[in-house]
Every structure is written in C-alpha cells, then in structure tokens.
C-alpha cells in the first residue's frame, strides 16, 4: 500500500518533470502600448492565456487561480542599468461557480467582480487590459527614453498549500509569460 503510494508519487513527479503537456499551455503578451490620457500614462495590452489540463481540472474543481500582471516603467540609461520608476501589479482571481456554471473574475485590487458564462469569455476579459494607469505625466522628463515591461504569471503562492509543492515542480503549473517591452509613448 505504502509502496504503491510512493510509486504513484514518483511516477507523477517523473511525468511532471519529464514532459510538457501536449497542448501547449502558456501565457503570452501579444501586444502592448501606452497612451497619455488626462495627464497620466495608461497601458493597453492584449494578453493570451492558455491553461493546461491540470490547471483547468483544478479550476473546474473549485481551485481559485490568481493571475498577476506585473508592470515596470523604466528610464533607459545607456551606460548603466535602467532606472525603475514604477512597479505595478494587478491581480485577478478566477474561480468557477458551479451553482451557476459560470466563471467569476474578481479584480483583487479593486474588488470588481465580473461573471462570465464561459472560460474563454473570462480569459478574453482578463486578457484585455485597457486604461491601466501607469504614472503621472509629470514624472516623465522630456528627452529621456522610457520603456514599459510587463508580464503575466500564475501566482503559485496563492494556490492551496497542498498544491504548492506539486505546482512548483510541475511545468504545467509554472505559467508565466516572457517580459514584454514597449516604449512609453504618449
């Protein structure tokens, strides 16, 4: 009995570590741009979210997923590392509401809740970042180059504790996009 349990654990770990899921899961920032509105720079981005089967299974079984958008505004320096002017995060929690058979998307920063009949609708809502305020215009000096970096990731630390060790060692759970860089333009 014990041996069988160990064997299952080991085989699961080996499977997790050895291969990526067939259907390629992952996050990707498709596009991002900034604009100056009301004396503040704002970010607009389009992000694609694709979950693997393990994550989808967890979501459908009531495990809430926390997705994090990290944005950094940096002043570009030629001979030195860039200076970070602002570090911003936006977290959304995606849950499945079994009673109503809908997906709830809650902005953890603002508390705003949106309800989506399908996961696709919820993810497309999540992937559309509009008017995300970056920083006031007065912080930007003329003649300097600025750029915005952003990426999205699944927050493993927000998962239920028993799932975390598995999530840390399973590629299907370690979901994160590459850093996407765009210049800060009005």
């Amino acid at each position: 009995m014990l041996l069988a349990g160990w064997r299952r654990l080991l085989s699961a770990l080996a499977l997790c570590l050895s291969s990526l899921p067939v259907h390629a899961a992952g996050f990707e920032v498709h596009a991002a741009a900034t604009s100056l509105e009301d004396d503040a720079y704002q970010l607009t981005a389009r992000i694609g979210y694709r979950f693997g089967d393990e994550v989808l299974e967890a979501l459908d079984n009531g495990v809430p997923l926390t997705l994090q958008l990290e944005v950094e505004v940096q002043r570009v320096r030629k001979w030195w590392a860039n200076e970070t002017l602002a570090k911003l995060t936006q977290r959304h929690q995606l849950t499945y509401h079994a009673f109503s058979d809908q997906y709830l998307l809650r902005n953890l920063d603002s508390g705003e809740l949106t309800i989506h009949p399908t996961l696709g609708m919820a993810l497309s809502e999540l992937g559309a970042v509009d008017h995300f305020p970056l920083l006031p215009a007065e912080q930007i000096e003329a003649g300097e180059d600025y750029e915005v970096q952003l990426r999205v990731s699944l927050d493993i630390e927000a998962l239920p504790a028993p799932l975390r060790p598995v999530a840390y060692v399973t590629p299907a759970w370690r979901l994160s996009s590459e850093w996407y860089t765009c210049s800060l333009t009005p």
């Binding site: 009995m1 349990g5 299974e57 079984n61 495990v63 509401h97 079994a98 009673f99 109503s100 309800i115």
Partner: protein, 742 residues
C-alpha cells in the same frame, strides 16, 4: 575575542538544540499550513524551504562528523572505534522505532484522507446542486417570461417616456433594477429599487453579444455581497424601421432564503470538489511533512549519537592519551574533568595518580641531584686527598678509587671501577701484591683494621699504611654478622717518610758518634806515637817490646776506630747518588774478580742470567753493596774456605720487571733472633764487625728503590736477596751488554 565568542556560541549542543526547536516549531506550522489556515497557508512554502534547508544543513553537519569519525577510525585514533560503535548503536536504536512509526503513520494518514471522501456524499452534493439549479430554473423561466411581457409593454413607449413606464414595470415585476438600453450599450432609462444607485448595473459585453445574435439572456448570477440575482435581458423590436434596437435589462433578486441556501450549496460543493481534487496533493504534502519529520528525527538521533558518543568517549580518549603520555614518561599530563559521574571519578583518580607520580619523580630527581652533588663533593674531597681511598661493595666490587690511590699504586683504576677486587690484577698485574695483602682483611668479622703493607713494584719498595673499615649498609646497619655496604680502604705511601725518619735517626747517631769519638782519637794516637818514639829506644829489650806492641796496638786500634767513625760519617752523610744505566752482571763480575786473588780458598759459583736487563743505579754504590755482601759471606764462612753462590736473574713477577741478586754462603746461617733486625746498624754476629755493613747495604738498596731480605737456606748457610727495579726503557740494551760480557 569576538571570533571566540562566536565559535563558543555556534559550537556545542546549544545551537543544534535551538535548531531542533526551531525545526519542530516550523514543522508544527507546516502541518498547520496544510490545513490551509490563512496565516500558515501564506507561510507554507517558506516553511517548507526553511525546513528543507535546515535538514540539508543538519545532513551536512552529520556528514562532516561522519567523515571526521571515519578518518579517525582509519587513523586508529583512540576512542574512534567506541564512538563508531556507539553511533551505529544509537542510529539503529532510533531507526527501528521511527521507521515503524513512519510506516503506520503513513498508512493512517492515507486512509484518513481517503476516508474524508465518500461517493455518496459527493453524489448528495451533486444532487443538492442539481436540485438548487432545478428549483431556480422555474423561477428563471418565469422571470424571462415576465421580462418579455414588460418588454412588450415598452415597445410603443418612446425613449423620453420610458423612465416612468420602466419604474412602473419594475415595481410591478418586483425587479431590483430595470434598465432600457440600446444594443450598443447606451442607457436610455433606468429604474432601481435602490434610490441611491445612480449607475445601473450594465450587462456584460458577452450578454450584449448574445442579444445581438437574437438570443434573450436569462441567468442566475452570484453578485457577491448583494447575493444571488437573476439577470434577464431581452431585445425589443424597433419602434420604427431603421431605428436602433433596444434592450430591456432586468435584475431580479432571488429570495433571501433561497439565495442563502444556494450559496451554502455552492460553497460546500466547491469546497468538497476542491478537497477531492486536492486529495492526492494533500497526501503528497502530508507524506512530505511526515518524511521531513522522520528525517529530522533520524538526523537528530544521528547527531545526538555523535554528540553523546563524543561526550562519552572524550574522557576515555583522554584517559588513553594520558596513559600513553604516562607510559612515555610525561607525568605532568592532567586531564579535563568530564563531570561528577564515574568517568569523572576515574579521570580525577588518574590526575591524582599522575600528580603523585610526578611528585615522586620530582623527589627522586631531587634525591638524585643531591646524591650527585654529594658524590661530586666526595669526589672532589677524595681527589684532593693525598691518601689513596678505595671503596668496595659487599661483593668486593671496586666502587670508588680516588686519584691518589691510582698514583700510589701506579695503576689507572678509573677503568676498573665496577670490577671485583680479585679481578684487578688481571687488568693491572702490578696490583697483585696489593690485592693479596688486602684480601685477608676484607672480612666482615674485622670491622676496623690497620696494617702496614710492603709492596714491590715498578717504583721499587713501597710501604703502605692501610686502614680499613666496614661501610654501613643501605639501611645504616653496621652489623658484623650481616655484610654491610662494603669496605673503605684508606692507604698512604709512607716509604719516603720511614726512610727519612730512619735516615734522620741514624744520621744523628752517626754524627754524635763521630763527634764524640773522633775528637779524642787523634790525641790518643799522637800520645801513643810520642810514647813510642820517646821511650822505645831507651827502654830495655823486653819492656821495649811490650811498649812497641802496646803502642802499635793503640795506634792500630785508633786507626780502626777512625775508619769506623768515617764509616758512620759516610752513613750519615752519603755522597750524592749518581744514577746511570748499569748492567748488574758486569758489576758482579768485576767485584768477584777482585776476590780471585785472595789467599783463602774461595770458590764462587756464579749463575748470571744473560737476559738480566740494565738498571738505573749508582755503579759505585752497587760495588759497595757487593763488596759488603761478599765480605759478609766470607766472614760468615770463616778462614777455612768459602763457597759463595752469586746468582742474578731477570724475572717478571706481578708484571713488574726487576733484577734479583742473591748472594749465598755455606756458613752457619743467621740466628733466628737476628733475622728480624739484621739490617739495623750495630747488629752483627761477628766479633769484629762494625755492625754497619748490612745496614749500609740496606740503605743503598733502598736508595735505589730496591728491597733486601735474608733467608736461611734449608741445607745451611744464608742467602741475602736483593731486588732492584728495572726501568722499562731499553730492555734490550742490557741483553746486548750482558752478551758482550759473556
């Protein structure tokens, strides 16, 4: 200083005990975290990482200890075997129960987690969910129908009057909010149950999209804090052709009880499905936590084994090293006290033992030094003594011999220390006589003795005044029945002293004799000659003859007395001795030649050894000696003839080379009573002797370092024996000399 403090704080059991307590605390938090308690849940990963890190540290610590121990074991360090044995024993003792507990804990854990889940419960929850949905489905349909009716009533109402109608419809339909808007999402009018709500709840883009497709929307929506609502959206036909289609959007609250029940079902179902989904990860997590705890227990046991074994073995190792040090002669070794237990007692006893041994050693060294100082002192004193000092132990082994002893005896005694007295002549033949003379006195029955020894060695005749005493034994006893610590023999060379005393005494006698007798002799002689000269011619024949005879006798006797006085004078003040190398055989031959013309029948029987070496002597005096001896022999034999045997030979006795000369006659021999002092002046058996002949002979012989004695021969007659020392140089010269004479 700081480093020392740091090292003290980070070494020993305290930091590890602290680490263990922290680990246990973190394990407690970890197990709490798995239950998903909010605070612990946040710390779960950190705790896990900390624990794994701490365990790795513990493993590294134990690994280092193990490597160190194995190295010590290979090097056969003292105590390493015992430490290894204790460690293995502790580990085995810890491993067995922990493994059993681990196995059964895992069993119980997995079964316990599995027991949380039941298909019937799951089915019931599923059914409850379905029931809830079904119960609301009718309401949903009713509300859709109701909204559609309201929409039908709104169709002819222009936008400007819609608000009023909308409010009426909302109140009638018991909706929480009703909004009329275009398909693009522009609000035309809105009516809400909440008079403070300014912004209406808008349908999402997805809902509008569905409406654009001509499909009405009716769905139950959990709106968080405000509870469950039913959202319904229906499209209104256009008021006039070409006008934008409108949408009636309504939110209907679900009855509070229904909403609560629905929330409860949703929450329970969600929790159950989540838990069911997390069943396997939960098992992994618990297994991981339990394994970590098992590892911690095991590693703690291993570390405790190392620690305890080291603590236990340290005093034993110290004792082993201490014993080795003591065996190597290091008695100053002190061991640290491990505690107040039996080992501490053992170590304390060891320390006391080494302390006492060290003290004894110190005392022994002190005694040795004192003894050495005393010995040096004694040696210095003995070395400065003019008397010879020898000490023998109870077995007759020579222990001490001072420089004067060697000088007096003429032998280097330093190399004979530790040899038995009897063995000394083997190394130094010269000591033969001395040892022979001593041995009779080395009797424990004779505790204190004094003797005068006469030796004959390369220095000639030697008279030693010896005093001996028994030495006290080691225990201080001087019991004659038990041999003590040996003998001490002190001796002085009194040859010169005796000679000087004798010379002085006889010189005085001779001087007085000459003075008292010689002075009146000349007047007596002159008076006699005057009487003869004056009266011989005048006196008649018979008287004249008497006078002639009388005066002749007087003159003759006075002459004789003058001779005698001269002899005494010569004895008292002998001329300076002139030493040269002379051959004894030649001297003998020359002197004997003078007697060949004697009237009397004298026969000389000469046996002269041609190997007789030359000696250092005054040839004139030697002739005088021979004359005296031959004259003595002739006088002893009487006028009827004499037979004199003269022999010389070279013999080696006790390693000393000497020339022995014997002059023997066939006379009556020496009376026994005279034998003892035959060579003293005025001792004579002859009616006409002066009594100085043999005294002079003896004096000359002694001046040459020789020895003289007399023996009566068994067949009759007497033999005068003389021994004269031979210088060791040029032993062949005399041989050649002698051969030349022969």
């Amino acid at each position: 200083m700081l480093l020392d403090t740091l090292k003290r704080l980070t070494s020993g059991p305290r930091p590890v005990a602290l680490l263990l307590v922290l680990l246990l605390a973190s394990f407690y938090l970890l197990s709490g975290a798995i239950q998903n308690t909010a605070l612990f849940g946040r710390l779960y990963s950190l705790l896990l990482a900390v624990n794994i890190l701490a365990l790795l540290l513990l493993i590294a610590l134990i690994g280092r200890n193990l490597i160190h121990l194995l190295q010590q074991y290979r090097d056969h360090a003292p105590g390493s075997r015992l430490t290894l044995r204790l460690v293995v024993m502790f580990v085995v003792l810890a491993l067995a129960p922990v493994s059993v507990v681990y196995y059964f804990s895992l069993q119980f854990l997995h079964r316990g987690i599995d027991s949380w889940f039941d298909l019937r419960v799951e089915k019931s929850l599923q059914d409850a969910l379905e029931l809830g949905r079904a119960s609301l489905d009718g309401r949903l349909r009713e509300l859709l129908r109701q909204t559609r009716l309201a929409a039908g009533e709104l169709v002819p109402v222009p936008d400007s009057a819609a608000a009023l109608k909308l409010n009426e419809l909302r109140q009638h339909g018991e909706a929480a909010e009703m909004t009329l808007l275009t398909l693009r999402g522009r609000v035309i009018a809105s009516a809400s149950m909440d008079p403070t709500a300014i912004i209406p709840a808008m349908p999402s883009e997805a809902v509008l999209q569905q409406l654009r497709q001509g499909l009405d929307y009716a769905r139950l929506e959990p709106l968080g804090e405000v509870g469950m609502h039913v959202r319904v959206a229906v499209t209104l036909p256009a008021l006039e052709p070409g006008a934008e289609a409108r949408v009636l959007h309504a939110l209907f609250p679900v009855a509070e009880r229904l909403s609560l029940l629905a929330d409860s079902v949703q929450e329970t179902y969600s929790q159950y499905t989540e838990l069911a989904f997390l069943r396997q990860p939960l098992k992994y997590s618990f297994t991981l936590t339990l394994s970590l705890i098992l590892l911690l227990s095991l590693l703690t046991a291993v570390w405790a084994a190392f620690f305890s074994a080291r603590r236990l073995v340290a005093p034993i190792r110290d004792l082993a090293e201490g014993t080795r040090a003591v065996a190597a002669g290091d008695y100053d070794k002190r061991l640290p006290l491990p505690g107040r237990d039996e080992l501490g007692f053992l170590v304390r006893s060891f320390n006391e033992m080494t302390y006492k041994i060290a003290q004894s050693q110190q005392a022994v060294r002190l005694s040795q030094r004192q003894a050495e100082e005393q010995r040096t002192y004694l040696e210095a004193v003995l070395g400065r003594l003019s008397s010879g000092v020898l000490t023998l132990d109870s077995d007759g082994v020579l222990h001490t011999a001072n420089a004067a002893a060697g000088q007096i005896l003429g032998a280097a005694l330093e190399d004979s220390l530790g040899q038995p007295l009897q063995a000394l002549p083997g190394r130094h033949p010269i000591l033969d006589q001395f040892v022979d003379a001593l041995l009779p006195h080395l009797d424990p029955a004779e505790p204190d003795w004094r003797a005068e020894l006469v030796l004959f060695g390369p220095k000639g005749r030697q008279v030693l005044m010896c005093r001996g005493a028994l030495l006290p034994g080691i225990d201080g006893s001087n019991d004659s029945e038990q041999p003590g610590g040996g003998h001490v023999i002190v001796f002085d060379d009194i040859t010169t002293l005796i000679q000087a005393q004798r010379d002085a005494a006889w010189g005085e006698v001779a001087r007085r004799l000459a003075h008292e007798i010689k002075n009146p002799l000349t007047p007596i002689q002159l008076s006699a000659e005057r009487l003869r000269h004056k009266y011989l011619a005048t006196m008649p024949g018979a008287d004249a003859e008497v006078l002639d005879r009388a005066t002749h006798t007087i003159v003759q006797q006075v002459e004789a007395m003058k001779e005698m006085v001269k002899a005494f004078s010569d004895y008292a003040r002998p001329p300076q001795i002139r030493l040269e190398m002379v051959g004894m055989n030649r001297i003998v031959s020359e002197v004997v030649e003078l007697y060949q013309t004697e009237q009397r029948p004298i026969s000389f029987d000469m046996k002269l050894d041609p190997r007789t070496p030359t000696i250092e002597a005054d040839a004139g005096r030697l002739r005088q000696v021979l004359h005296n001896l031959i004259k003595n022999a002739l006088e002893a034999c009487g006028p009827d003839g004499a037979h004199i045997r003269i022999t010389t030979h070279c013999a080696e006795q006790t390693g000393c080379r000497y020339v022995e000369l014997s002059v023997c006659d066939d006379g009556p021999g020496i009376p026994e009573e005279m034998l003892a002092n035959l060579f003293e002046p005025y001792v004579t058996s002859k009616p006409k002797g002066t009594g100085l002949g043999l005294a002079i002979v003896k004096k000359i012989v002694e001046e040459h370092g020789g020895m003289i004695w007399v023996e009566n021969m068994p067949e009759g007659g007497a033999c005068i024996m003389i021994r004269l020392p031979v210088k060791k140089e040029k032993p062949r010269d005399e041989a050649q000399d002698t051969r030349g004479e022969d």
